[in-house]
């Protein structure tokens, strides 16, 4: 693990890591699987970056859901975790939970129907102890990508002191401090979802495809999203298992 990742995360609340050869081969396989699902469905050759040339916006969500359901069969979440564990474990520990189904986002150029305005997942029932593992399937830059308000920015440091009445006020307030993530295929973005983040209309010429998943330490506090309904245990470590089974003797 590159120490720079840890330093970046401590300072900015996020980092971008580069997949090694083995991780990249796995990612290539996943991408190929998605392309094959789309080829079979649309009966056309598919290039993810230029997907907007072969699909109308109104069909986008049904196609996204079909790919999402097919890719998430057979424990894709564990495959996703194992592929990227090198970037996760130094940040959250090694006894973790991951969301059951990995989200898939598709952002066509000029499409305003799939936007996620600025938010922090903790405001909607996620634990402040979670991180997001965001993995693009194509090179993504500027508005094609997503934005984050870095932890060391003045607006984040003071964020808890602000009062907002509308979502648009949040964006207005933090606009000068947000950072659009320029990331290449074969790289991964790891960030704390305590940081306000979101996306805007993609004004680039390419479609963005990306996965995202939430991971947290098994024994850290949960919020609304809990084990059973949202998270799955990756591996219960022997000491935790023993601790759960332990019963105190009776003393008189």
């Amino acid at each position: 693990m590159n120490k720079k990742f840890l330093l970046d995360f401590r300072k900015k609340g996020f980092f971008i890591g580069k997949l090694n050869l083995i991780e990249k081969v796995k990612l290539d396989e996943i991408k190929k699987k998605i392309v094959n699902i789309l080829k079979k469905k649309l009966k056309k050759n598919v290039n993810l970056e230029n997907f907007h040339n072969i699909i109308e916006g109104k069909y986008l969500n049904s196609i996204r859901l079909e790919v999402f359901n097919k890719i998430n069969k057979n424990k894709f979440n564990l495959e996703y975790y194992n592929m990227l564990s090198r970037f996760i474990e130094p940040i959250v520990g090694s006894e973790n939970v991951i969301q059951k189904k990995i989200n898939l986002s598709i952002q066509l150029p000029k499409d305003d129907t799939s936007l996620l305005p600025v938010h922090s997942d903790t405001w909607a029932g996620d634990s402040p102890f979670e991180i997001v593992i965001w993995l693009p399937l194509v090179d993504s830059k500027k508005t094609q990508s997503m934005f984050i308000l870095p932890r060391d920015s003045r607006n984040f440091i003071n964020f808890h002191k602000f009062t907002f009445k509308r979502n648009s006020e949040i964006m207005k307030k933090i606009k000068k401090d947000i950072q659009f993530i320029n990331i290449k295929y074969g790289e991964v973005l790891v960030f704390s979802q305590n940081l306000p983040h979101g996306n805007v209309v993609n004004t680039e010429k390419k479609t963005r495809w990306s996965f995202n998943a939430r991971v947290k330490s098994l024994m850290s506090p949960y919020s609304q999203k809990n084990l059973l309904d949202f998270f799955e245990i990756i591996e219960l470590k022997p000491a935790t298992e023993f601790g759960l089974l332990y019963e105190y003797p009776k003393f008189k």
Partner: protein, 144 residues
Amino acid sequence: MNTQNLNKKILRGYISSRDINGAYYPQNIQNLIIRNFAELNNIKFQLSGTEWNIKNSFLMLRSILSEKNDGVIFFSIFQIYENKIFFKKILKEIIEKNKLAVFALENITVSSSKELNKLLKTFKIMNITSSKDYLKNIKKKIFK
């Protein structure tokens, strides 16, 4: 505990008319979740039975389990977790009958003692980590 191998299994739905884990879910919403789950997993779905609105009644569930099917699709695991002793007992009974207990909302299937034990451990962890005082105590110990 996963939802693999549910292909073409004959499962009967099971919904509640009581509160579930402190919340009220209309029966049509419970059915919608179950039907959607069955469709996604290619399950041969049999119409849901509705449990009576009488505390600790599991009469309908017992009837479903005595019918000819491969098991039950519950709307949520908390339909039977309200009574922890019953929860363990009924799941053991389902496993002994070689049937499946499928929980649509949580996307969990139980078909063996190993899976049941894993589930019981998960509930223990939930009891520890979801307590309102858990975060407060951690902060107190770290920042005292």
